[in-house]
């Protein structure tokens, strides 16, 4: 049986600037993401991977086309509605980790849960659980500056994971890490995808990433490029 579709991009275009200097960052992209799948967005620098991920993550709006998340058409949603949609359904992992420097690992992971109506006890359990999954329970009281890059990225993954999102979007998650550490971060993402069927989309031009991912979407000049 085919897995249900968790997100769908339909005829997406995104333009920057206008007139002669207009950049067509994305041009008529149509793509579906199956529940539990691991997808990689590949392509050279400037091809539009990040732009696509941003639109999929509802932090950017396309100039044309529609984005459906869990069957919801995001086009008519207000900023506030998009914000709560992200809180509920999307987990971001960034290239440069983007942890809040004044919060400990624990507090960083806890942060998104504080904006949901959840009992305290449940929040605490959930945070412990995901910290254990990324293997950082014993470092939970450390601040980001006391953690290595790989550890920070693990905290970021835990933060993305903690709200049980429909999908995790990772933009070059290994680009700021050395190859060994990068590999262990990939291992983590793969094992989460494997064992917990977490839908994951990774934008990357790192061959080490691409050779491990089942479904690779190749993008060039804002268009999908068949293999």
């Amino acid at each position: 049986m085919k897995e249900p579709i968790i997100a769908r991009l339909d005829g997406i275009s995104r333009y920057y600037g206008s007139g002669a200097g207009q950049v067509n960052a994305l041009e008529n992209i149509t793509l579906s993401f199956d529940k539990g799948a691991m997808t990689a967005l590949a392509g050279p620098s400037g091809s539009g991977k990040s732009t696509l991920l941003h639109i999929l993550g509802c932090i950017d709006k396309p100039d044309k086309g529609t984005v459906l998340i869990d069957g919801i058409d995001t086009t008519p949603l207000s900023l506030e509605q998009l914000s709560s949609l992200r809180l509920e359904k999307i987990g971001f992992v960034f290239q440069s980790f983007n942890l809040i420097p004044v919060l400990t690992a624990y507090e960083n992971v806890e942060l998104p849960l504080l904006f949901k109506e959840l009992p305290k006890q449940l929040i605490a359990e959930k945070v412990q659980e995901v910290l254990a999954k990324v293997g950082l329970l014993e470092r939970k009281n450390h601040y980001p500056r006391q953690l290595s890059g790989g550890q920070q990225q693990r905290v970021a993954i835990a933060r993305a994971l903690v709200g049980n999102p429909s999908m995790i979007l990772a933009d070059e998650p290994t680009a700021n890490l050395d190859s060994n550490t990068g590999k262990s971060i990939l291992d983590l993402l793969f094992s989460l995808n494997d064992r917990e069927s977490i839908t994951t989309v990774i934008a990357s031009h790192d061959p080490a990433v691409l050779e491990r991912v089942g479904k690779v979407v190749r993008i060039r000049d804002g268009r999908i490029f068949p293999d």
């Binding site: 941003h54 993550g57 900023l79 998104p112 504080l114």
Partner: protein, 429 residues
């Protein structure tokens, strides 16, 4: 959302750039202290002016005292002849009032006017007939009882001279003395209408030259013994009785009990009791003018506090663009992020109030012990020792003002936060 955790985040963000926060804190604490000291100075000035009104007055008629007793008709109707509605048997009434517990003294006065002449030249005068020993009680109140004692002493030598001199002695204003070429000991003549409508004259001797606090009145200023005025006018009445209390704060509460003593328990007695406030036009006009100046100072200080805090807030937002973008991407709404910045401003406000209170008391102590003298107020003649009052009742309002302006400076950050595009901020370094 757990507001305590958001507050904790805001608090830690404040400590992040400790030096900048400290500078902002210093500016707003200094702002608080400045406002509090201005308030203390204002309270001192108004108190001084109030006591000055009570003890010396800004008219020809002397200090208002705390209360003045008139016959009811004197306030309601125009007199057909001088002292038609004067108070007779004032001694009896005075001793009745003096039984009241907060009363220090009662002072009878006659207001009269006419011409004063040196034989060659006559000019008009605004006169007060007084009992000098009683008037000295009013000066004693200033010098011994009220809070201005340390700032400035009031001179009672003119009344002492009047008391010690001949029974027909008078005090005249400096300008009047100049106009009539009079010195102490010069004989002059007073002319006025009697209660019967006839014209009468008495001989007087200058017992002293007294300066009226208001320069414009000095040319018409004349003080005589009560008897001199009564002889001139063929009367044994007085115009009013001035009551001196032990504390200006007791003014209102003294009215009903004094009224009971002199009017009986019925509601329609024959005397009106007028508090000093109703007799203090000059006090209120100066107070209004000063209030405008002080409010203006206040506004400037608040604007400085606001701008300094707004600067900090804007710098904080600029520095944290990527962080704000991350919070937004995670799905935290603009309102929560803005609330975090408002809380940061609020904390700066709280800390500034704490720091400001310390600074205020420190500076007050220094100023009050420095012996700094203020130049005389407009139209007045002598300088006085600067004193900053505690002005406690102003502190909650000033705190509110400072906290409001630091918190609202977070609003500027808020506008900025709304404008930050998530995608752009994520690529921001």
């Amino acid at each position: 959302m757990n507001i305590i955790k958001l507050a904790r985040l805001a608090w830690r963000n404040l400590l992040r750039n400790g030096r900048r926060t400290l500078i902002t804190l210093l500016v707003s604490s200094a702002g608080f202290a400045a406002l509090a000291i201005v308030a203390g100075y204002m309270e001192f000035t108004f108190y001084g002016l109030q006591e000055m009104t009570i003890c010396r007055g800004f008219t020809a008629g002397g200090g208002t005292g705390h209360l003045q007793i008139f016959r009811k008709e004197a306030l309601d109707r125009e007199e057909r002849f001088p002292l038609e509605y004067g108070i007779g048997q004032n001694q009896t009434i005075q001793s009745e009032i003096e039984k009241e517990k907060n009363v220090l003294a009662t002072i009878p006065r006659i207001e009269f006017n006419g011409l004063i002449s040196n034989g060659e030249k006559s000019i008009s005068f605004l006169g007060t007939g007084v009992v000098p020993e009683k008037e000295i009680k009013l000066i004693d109140y200033w010098n011994q009882t009220n809070k201005m004692t340390n700032s400035r002493r009031m001179d009672n030598s003119a009344y002492l001279n009047l008391a010690k001199g001949a029974p027909n002695g008078v005090l005249v204003g400096e300008e009047m003395a100049k106009a009539l070429d009079a010195k102490v000991g010069t004989n002059l003549m007073l002319m006025s209408t009697t209660v019967d409508g006839a014209v009468n004259a008495v001989d007087v001797t200058v017992a002293g030259i007294a300066r009226n606090p208001m320069k414009s009145i000095d040319r018409y200023y004349l003080v005589s013994h009560l008897e001199t005025a009564q002889n001139l006018m063929f009367t044994d009445k007085v115009s009013k009785i001035v009551v001196v209390l032990n504390n200006t704060g007791n003014t209102q509460s003294a009215i009903p009990s004094i009224s009971r003593r002199i009017n009986g328990s019925g509601s329609s007695g024959s005397f009106s009791i007028v508090p000093w406030q109703s007799l203090a036009e000059y006090y209120y006009s100066v107070r209004d003018a000063y209030n405008i100046i002080f409010s203006f100072t206040g506004i400037i200080v608040v604007v400085i506090v606001f701008l300094s805090c707004a600067n900090t807030m804007l710098m904080a937002t600029m520095e944290r663009v990527r962080e704000i973008g991350t919070l937004k991407a995670i799905g935290i709404s603009n309102s929560w992020i803005s609330l975090m910045f408002l809380l940061e401003g609020f904390f700066i406000g709280l800390l500034s109030v704490a720091g400001g209170i310390v600074l205020k008391f420190l500076f007050s102590i220094i100023i009050n012990n420095s012996g700094f003298r203020m130049p005389p107020p407009p139209g007045m003649t002598s300088s006085y020792l600067l004193n900053i009052f505690p002005a406690m009742e102003f502190l909650p309002w000033i705190s509110l003002l400072v906290i409001a302006s630091t918190t609202l400076s977070g609003l500027l950050a808020l506008i900025k936060i709304r404008k930050i595009s998530i995608v752009n901020s994520l690529s921001h370094v």
